[in-house]
Amino acid sequence: MLGQGFVSAAAIAASVLFILSLGGLSNQEKAKRAVWYGIVGMAVAVFFTALGPGIGGYWWLIPMMIIGAGIGTYMAGKVEMTEMPQLVAALHSFVGLAAVFVAWSADLERRRVLAARAADGVMQEFSAFAALVATKAPDELTFLQIEVVLGIFIGAVTFTGSVIAFGKLAGKVDGKPRQLPGGHLLNAGAAVLSLLLAVLYLNGAGFWTLIVLAALAFFIGYHLIMGIGGADMPVVVSMLNSYSGWAAAAIGFTLGNDLLIVTGALVGSSGAILSYIMCKAMNRNFVNVILGGFGGSTGPAAEIEGEQVAIDAGGVASALNDADSVVIVPGYGMAVAQAQSAVSDLVRKLRAAGKNVRFGIHPVAGRLPGHMNVLLAEAKVPYDIVLEMDEINDDFTSTDVVIVIGSNDIVNPAAEEDPNSPIAGMPVLKVWEAKQVFICKRGQGTGYSGIENPLFFKENSRMFYGDARDSLNALLPLVD
């Protein structure tokens, strides 16, 4: 058994390693090292905590960890890169559920200690966490109760929220916003009820309050995320990421463990910043996204004149052969069609012909922050030609050909030109400033947000209809 000093030292080391791990993600090369910092940090934290004073229960602990590691390895190895959003959402739900369990246990231990105290007034030998609780003064126990409530509530919302987000991203639950009659009033009601239960619990009501509290929070998580459309999932996933962090921090307070607090706070703020970035990229308010759906539009959208002109692979190929600079703007449609490797082949061919080929990535393209980057990386597209919106937006005027693959709202000029559009003011990729734009799209129709896209009607736009992967594969032999 190691002494408390070892455990504390390990906690400090792990905290530093975690911070280095997150900080290292500032560029692709450092990131590879950064993951190792994270892994080592986690190993140190788990190992020294497990060997710390008064832990025990190894007959439970070790088999569980081995099984868990096995499942985790299997999942990580099997997952397709297009399924990343689902996986992340699913993993969040585990953290949420674990937080609920740990908080419940904490309260059970508290009750056990109190019961023992009341029974004989003599300190009996407790093991593990109960021993820590036994040393707490009454006011500390009250705070412990508050922390337990927070841990359960946040953990439970994270759990069901993530499960629904997983279902929506995996296509197992309908992606459309859907709410029970009563809408957000139901959520508000459940929240008020939870507060009442918390007060009851703090005033000494039984363990049942915590179970009902968790049930209410489960409902809120479920109902809140059901009301959010699939296109807003990047925000939802990063918000849930944040929640899972806060839940861990709350548990850290409960258990008096600084490492949990630090890590929880790091994760919590990371998720919060990501949500903020995503919201800004859609020019929407966080509350507006979470409370669901687009607000009513402020007036009739400007009428679109002109027609969508289709083009075949031959036409696109000849334009590409003539072009010097090409920008490709991928969106969720590319992920759906699994077209990333076809895109990569095309890029390789064009680059071999000496053309300047780059990618323009909108921050909310895909269903997860940075989703497109990962897909392109999987297809072996070098990351130094994959640029952010701000880096490439001024270059469109000097671009010969833009190929838009399966994205819609993020290239919608209405965001800039039509103040009545529901997405007015959202920063978009100004693809229409290029000499020619080809839009690779399954068919006529609006995007996820249901907004008509004037880009398709512009004079320099041509529609390249068909499944993205098939279209690109048809295009490949024609490009030289």
Partner: protein, 526 residues
């Protein structure tokens, strides 16, 4: 249907309405193509290439007019040609119906349908058959080439061992299709190009071609007309505006080397924009290319179809046949325009012409049909250009204004920050009053960790957001510590709950880290 292209009869016309390439496409529509022998010779297409493309070469104009059910031409028909038209025959050509009323009457009397390529409405759908634009494009290009031919210096600036060469300065007046083409050609030759147009909304197009827009500071915005209302064409301007404009040109005259004028107003003589005194102010050897010469010219000295030299050695070129001077190119484009018109006339691709008078484009271009004059057409249902939204130019703030607004913003920010800090401090104080000391210690750690988190995460690059989520996700599996601390509890329930927590937290940790590694391994530099 048999589509026939006769040889152009008007003097100096080298273009032809049918090329071997367009003939192949027209045949795909189910039509049969005829051409008069030698019709394409001046444009660089001999009879054999036509034969190779499946076109029947006809020996004489008479036979062709007899045989063809649809006659395609470049210029409007001469009187003798008009006399050959017969009932039910269709003629597609430039026609200028407003200027050629007698001819129009004659064609009507002959019972032929006439589609005037110059009357194709300017809407997006009809762009592919907008022959005026394609010809203007060529004229603009050729104008620059012609100017270069007459100009004694380089276009591009160079520093050579034999001395420095300044770039030529080109002024383009009127930024229609021809003007824009001229701007593009001149900039790509390396000249410094300035351009002017009465429609301020084209400034963007001018700048996109690489020229500088000469902006007239004209207060009366009522006068700067909305181009969309006149179908994308310029309209006459008020006398005050004109004065301002001439003053601007007078200022430019001594400076520029080449002037290309393309200003035309539909249905009116060309406005005089480059006056005698401006020509006199120009340097000797300067060149003026007047693309409006056919309508009287924008320059005082212009003689249609002539190259004249002013007293001070300025060359004024007033050719009116620029497209015909590039007959191969213009024939190719014109034939494609015609081919698109035929495509619209043959919607079923079965070789049957369906003269659909409900179609905006066909209706607009048809000037006689079924023994009736159908000119002028009703306004098209679709507007030429989407109604332009008024764009307010924002005034550049002066440095002082900038400073004051910056200072105000800074002040507001400071106020807000101090306010937040004060509120936060007060809250902490309150919390400190009620919370036990051990809690406050943990709380300090929490707040500091949040700060570090915010600082660190802002630096994460956008492209790594997905790995970031996976890593934070793995790290948030730290909740396993909570479970480890509880698993050795004496209570069975607690032990079971903790064991489940350990299991799922481990899945999270291992899965999260492994998947991140997988992702990061994929990021490669080129």
């Amino acid at each position: 249907m048999r589509i026939g292209a006769p040889k152009e009869t008007s003097r100096g016309e080298a273009r032809v309405a049918l090329t071997p390439e367009s003939a192949k496409q027209i045949q795909k529509l189910g039509h049969e193509c005829l051409i008069e022998t030698g019709a394409g010779l001046a444009a660089g297409f001999n009879d054999d290439t036509y034969r190779d493309a499946g076109v029947t070469v006809v020996d004489s104009a008479d036979a062709l007019w007899q045989d063809a059910e649809v006659v395609i031409k470049v210029r409007e028909p001469s009187d003798s040609e008009a006399a050959r038209l017969r009932e039910g025959q269709t003629l597609i050509a430039f026609f200028w119906p407003a200027q050629n009323e007698a001819l129009l009457e004659k064609c009507k009397a002959q019972g032929a349908s006439v589609i005037a390529m110059d009357m194709v409405p300017r809407i997006s759908r009809a762009q592919k058959m907008d022959a005026l634009s394609s010809m203007a494009n060529i004229a603009g290009y050729r104008a620059v080439i012609e100017a270069g031919n007459n100009f004694g210096r380089f276009f591009t600036g160079q520093v050579t061992a034999a001395g420095k060469v300044p770039p030529a300065k080109v002024l383009v007046i009127g930024a229609g299709v021809a003007g824009l083409a001229a701007i593009g050609t001149a900039t790509s030759l390396g000249a410094v190009v300035r351009a002017f147009d009465v429609r301020p909304e084209v400034s963007e197009q001018i700048e996109s071609m690489g020229a500088e827009f000469l902006f007239l500071d004209f207060a009366d915005s009522e006068d700067s007309q909305d181009g969309s209302e006149s179908g994308g064409y310029a309209s006459p301007s008020s006398p005050e505006f004109r004065e301002k404009q001439l003053a601007c040109f007078r200022e430019q005259a001594p400076d520029v080397d080449i002037v290309i004028t393309t200003a035309l107003i539909p249905g009116r003589p060309a406005p005089k924009l480059w006056l005698e005194d401006m020509v006199a102010a120009m340097k000797p050897g300067s060149v003026i290319i007047d693309l409006a010469a056919e309508k009287g010219g924008n320059c005082d000295l212009t003689q249609p179809d002539e190259r004249v030299v002013s007293d001070n050695g300025v060359i004024v070129v007033g050719y009116t046949d620029f497209p015909s001077r590039m007959a191969t190119q213009s024939s190719l484009l014109y034939a494609t325009n015609i081919r698109h018109m035929l495509t619209d006339l043959t919607p079923e691709k079965d070789g049957v012409i369906n003269h659909n008078m409900d179609d905006d484009v066909i209706r607009g271009a048809t000037v006689t049909h079924q023994n009736e004059v159908t000119f002028p057409p009703p306004p098209p249902k679709v507007k030429a250009i989407a109604a332009a939204k008024p764009k307010k130019k924002e005034k550049e703030p002066t440095p002082e204004e900038k400073k004051t607004t910056e200072a105000a913003a800074f002040k507001a920010q400071t106020k807000r920050q101090v306010g937040i800090l004060a509120i936060g401090g007060a809250l902490m104080l309150l919390l400190g009053q009620v919370a036990p000391a051990s809690f406050m210690q943990h709380f300090i750690v929490f707040v500091l960790a949040c700060f570090i988190g915010f600082q660190v995460i802002w630096k994460v690059s956008h492209s790594l957001h997905t790995p970031l989520m996976a890593v934070t996700n793995a790290i948030s599996g730290i909740i396993i510590l909570g479970a480890i601390l509880q698993i050795g509890s004496g209570s069975a329930v607690v032990s079971v709950l903790a064991a489940i927590s350990v299991l799922i937290a481990t899945i999270n940790i291992v899965g999260g880290f492994l998947v991140t590694r997988r992702m990061l391994a994929m990021f490669q530099k080129s």
